[in-house]
C-alpha cells in the first residue's frame, strides 16, 4: 500500500502529463487542419499529371523505344524502396504502420531472391529499420529543418531517385507512405513509381489518341516522367503530413483520456487510504479511553 504522500505525488505527475498531452492534441488539431487542406489542394496536380502521362503512354506504340522510366529496365533484380515517415514520435501507430507494410514487402522481395535498397525519408523510419535492414539502407534523408512541406524538398528526393535509376542502380522503385483518409484512419500504401503502374488498367477506357504534341511525344515523355516522380513524392509527403497530425491527434486524445481515468482511480485510492488512517487513529483513541 503506497503512502499518502506517494499517492499525492503520483496524482500531480499524472495531471501534469495530462496537461502536456492535451496541449499536444490541440497543437496537432490545429496543424491537421492546415495539413489536410494542403493535401487536398495538392491532389489535383498529381492526378492531372498522372492523367496526362497515362494518355501519353497509351499512345506509345513501340515499347522498345519508350523511355525506361515508363516501361522499366526489363530486369527485376534490384528493388528500391523509399520509406516516408515522420521526424517526430508520439503519433500513435503512424510510423509503425508504414514500417510494417514496408517490412512485409522487404521480406517478400528477399524471399524471391532479389536484392533490396532502401531510402528512408524522415528519421523515425531510419531508427526503426536500421537494426534489421541497416545494410540495405543507402540513404537517409530528413527534412527536419524545413518548416513546411514544399515541392523543393520533394524534388530533391525525386532527383536522387532519377540519378540512381540512370546509373542503373535499381530496376523497380516503390514508395511507402500513409494515405490520409480521415482523422481516425490512415491507410499505409505502397505505390510503385518505376516503372509506372497504370492504376486504371482494368478500365478499358478508349483514349483519345488524336493529341497534338509539341515537341514530339518522346521528348514530352522523357521530360514529364522525372517530373512525375517528384510530384508523386510530393503528394506522398503531403498525405503523410496530414496523416501524421491526424494520428497524433487521436493518440494524444486517447492519452489525455487515459490520464483522466488514472487520476480518478488514484484520487479514490488516496481518499480511501486517508479515511482508513483517520479511522485507525479514532479506534486507537477510543480503545485507549476504554482501557482507563
Amino acid at each position: 500500500m503506497p503512502s499518502l504522500d506517494d499517492l499525492r505525488k503520483r496524482i500531480t505527475s499524472v495531471k501534469s502529463t495530462q496537461k502536456i498531452t492535451k496541449a499536444m492534441k490541440m497543437v496537432a488539431a490545429a496543424k491537421l487542419r492546415k495539413a489536410q487542406e494542403n493535401a487536398e489542394k495538392g491532389r489535383p496536380y498529381s492526378e492531372k499529371m498522372n492523367n496526362i502521362i497515362l494518355n501519353l503512354s497509351a499512345g506509345v506504340s513501340d515499347p522498345q523505344s519508350a523511355p525506361k522510366l515508363l516501361v522499366g529496365t526489363g530486369k527485376e533484380d534490384v528493388h528500391l524502396c523509399v520509406v516516408l515517415t515522420s521526424d517526430r514520435g508520439l503519433c500513435g501507430g503512424f510510423n509503425s504502420n508504414i514500417i510494417k507494410k514496408a517490412k512485409n514487402y522487404f521480406e517478400k522481395t528477399q524471399k524471391e531472391g532479389k536484392s533490396l535498397k532502401i531510402i528512408t525519408v524522415g528519421s523515425k523510419g531510419y531508427d526503426q529499420l536500421k537494426r534489421q535492414y541497416g545494410n540495405s539502407i543507402i540513404e537517409n534523408i530528413s527534412f527536419k529543418e524545413s518548416k513546411n512541406i514544399n515541392y523543393f524538398d520533394a524534388a530533391k528526393v525525386g532527383n536522387l531517385i532519377i540519378e540512381k535509376f540512370q546509373n542503373e542502380e535499381f530496376d523497380f522503385c516503390t514508395i511507402f507512405f500513409n494515405k490520409f483518409k480521415n482523422v481516425i484512419s490512415q491507410i499505409p500504401q505502397a505505390q510503385q513509381i518505376i516503372p509506372l503502374e497504370n492504376e486504371n488498367k482494368d478500365k478499358d477506357e478508349k483514349l483519345d489518341s488524336s493529341y497534338e504534341f509539341e515537341p514530339d511525344e518522346d521528348e514530352i515523355l522523357s521530360n514529364l516522367l522525372p517530373k512525375n516522380i517528384s510530384t508523386q513524392i510530393f503528394k506522398a509527403m503531403l498525405e503523410n503530413s496530414a496523416s501524421e497530425q491526424g494520428s497524433r491527434m487521436t493518440a494524444m486524445d486517447n492519452a489525455t483520456r487515459n490520464a483522466g481515468d488514472l487520476v480518478d482511480k488514484l484520487t479514490i485510492q488516496y481518499n480511501r487510504s486517508r479515511q482508513a488512517a483517520i479511522t485507525k487513529e479514532l479506534i486507537e483513541i477510543i480503545s485507549g479511553a476504554e482501557s482507563l
Partner: protein
Amino acid sequence: MDQFNLEIISPEKSFLTKSDTEEVVIPAIEGYMGILKDHIPLISFLKPGIIDVKSKNEILNYYVDDGIVEFKDNTLSILTSNIFDLKEMDKNKVDKIVKDAEEDLKKENIKDHERYILDQKIEVLNSIKSN
C-alpha cells in the same frame, strides 16, 4: 465569343479556375500559341513567358517559369510550379529572378537547351521591367 474552361494548378494548390475564358495565349516551348474554343487536343511544355487570359470582362496576365499544358474537351489545364500575377510582381522580385538566371548562365557546364531557356527568362523579365 465562345467560352471554354481554364484551370491553372500548382503543386501546392489550385491556382485559378475559370469557365468564361475566351482566349488564352501561352508561351509554348516552340513559340507563343493562342488557344480558342474547340482547339484540337494538345499536350505541350511551357517556356518562361507570359500567359494572357482573356475573358469577357477582364484580361489577366501571369508570368510562368515552366509547366505543362493540356487541352482536352474544351478544358485547358496548365500545370506549373512557378507562377505569379504580373500585377503583384514587384521590381525587387523580378530583379532577383533575373539575377539568379544570369548567375546560372555563367556556369560552364550548362546545356544548350538550358541556355536557351535562361535567355528566354531574362528577356521576358526585362521586358516586364521596362513596362
